[in-house]
């Protein structure tokens, strides 16, 4: 097991960061309410990455 803690940048979260995260989290819930599934979202994300 390698669980040595490395030096990371400090966590600094502003009020705006919290509000933005809360809004985005709720936006996802709304997507599900509209009938999108988590699988749909995964496939949409893959489609955006895809090189045809």
């Amino acid at each position: 097991m390698n669980n040595v803690k490395k030096e990371k940048s400090p966590i600094q979260i502003s009020k705006a960061d919290f509000e933005r995260a809360y809004k985005k989290a709720n936006d996802f819930k709304k997507l599900l309410e509209k009938g999108k599934t988590r699988e749909d979202v995964f496939k949409d994300m893959l489609r955006l990455i895809s090189v045809e």
Binding site: K8, E39, S50
Partner: protein, 196 residues
């Protein structure tokens, strides 16, 4: 869709060889009720021998999925190319820690043949990253907001301790001292209570 084909073949081959495999990174987020754009396909496999890794690579090769590297067990990751797309395959779920039995046992089916890490372990992969960014912190916050009722707190506390990340996690919850939305504040209070 090419990237979907690539992912499906990689997961199929791992499944045939009984290799634990999960989607990690941004692409795994919808499994935890979060979404954002990402440009990467990140996958992690739990492989214990070079022979097993070679067999996996051989099987992928037969499907036209190739690595230009000569992947070795001690590496963090390697890249595979196929169907005009590419995926990064990590031999560790996070650059800060390796697979262990507990983590492997807890991986969960997302859909089809696609697996993801347990919610608690996924949060840990974001928190423990050596190049942790504000995007990782935002991902963690969103995961917490949409999943705090589903978290196995006993396991999560154990994992935070295992990775020496309790103080980092508590730093995220310091937002409780800010003038934030009341509903969000209630969620953070509930999470803090679980950490006591």
């Amino acid at each position: 869709m090419n990237s979907e084909l690539l992912v499906n073949f990689i997961f199929d081959k791992a499944s045939q060889l009984k290799i634990p495999i999960v989607i990690i990174g941004g692409l795994a987020l919808p499994a935890y009720n979060v979404a954002r754009t990402t440009l990467d396909i990140d996958i992690s496999i739990n492989i214990s021998t070079q022979k097993q890794l070679n067999q996996f690579l051989l099987e992928l090769n037969r499907e036209g999925i190739k690595s230009l590297q000569n992947p070795k067990l001690g590496q963090d990751l390697f890249t595979v190319f196929g169907f005009k797309n590419e995926a990064e395959i990590w031999l560790k779920p996070c650059d800060a820690f390796e697979w262990d039995k507990e983590m492997t046992k807890k991986i969960k089916l997302y859909f089809g043949n696609i697996f993801v890490l347990a919610l608690e372990d996924f949060i840990l992969t974001k928190l423990a990253r050596s190049d942790r960014s504000s995007t990782d912190i935002s991902d963690i916050l969103q995961i917490l907001i949409n999943n705090y009722k589903e978290i196995d707190w006993e396991y999560f506390r154990f994992r935070l301790n295992w990775a020496n990340l309790e103080s980092d996690f508590k730093e995220i919850l310091q937002g409780i001292e800010l003038e934030i939305n009341e509903d969000l504040k209630k969620i953070l209070i509930k999470i803090l209570e679980q950490l006591k």
